[in-house]
């Protein structure tokens, strides 16, 4: 059967330092159904590996907005 793990890259605006990166990684990484998150300051994005039965690209984007950063699904790319 298919794995429950999905991966998505979301655009994140407003991050300027390592502390911003840590805030997002800490909060999103602790959500139920999130296996791994990597935030890139240079590329202004976050790549999240998650359980698609518990989270969705939309719910993850909303969670990042909740932390206080602008998050877009426009250039979201899912792994095949």
């Amino acid at each position: 059967s298919r794995s429950v793990a999905d991966r998505v890259t979301l655009g994140v605006k407003g991050m300027t330092c390592g502390s911003c990166v840590q805030s997002i990684e800490g909060r999103i990484g602790a959500l139920p159904g999130v296996f791994h998150i990597q935030v890139s300051l240079e590329q202004s994005n976050a790549t999240v590996t998650f359980d698609h039965t518990r989270q969705s690209p939309e719910s993850l984007a909303e969670a990042i907005e909740d932390v206080g950063f602008e998050c877009s699904l426009t250039n979201a790319t899912s792994a095949p």
């Binding site: 502390s19 805030s23 907005e65 909740d66 932390v67």
Partner: protein, 66 residues
């Protein structure tokens, strides 16, 4: 009533995040980035304000009423 909070902000991005979460709460506030302080004018419970600030993932401490 104005409440004073310590929020461990280090840059414009951090204060921007605090601004965004407080705007959603619809309260009057003022951010002092160099001193890592946030002043919020609100009649809401301090626990509500504290939880909102903690959403940013930063260390937050309630200093007291100002």
């Amino acid at each position: 009533m104005t409440h004073e909070f310590f929020v461990d902000m280090t840059c414009e991005g951090c204060s921007g995040a605090v601004t965004r979460v407080l705007k959603k709460l619809d309260v009057k506030f003022d951010i002092d980035l160099p001193n890592k302080k946030v002043f919020i004018e609100s009649d809401k419970d301090t626990d509500v304000l504290l939880e909102t600030l903690k959403k940013t993932g930063k260390t937050v401490t309630y200093i007291g009423p100002k």
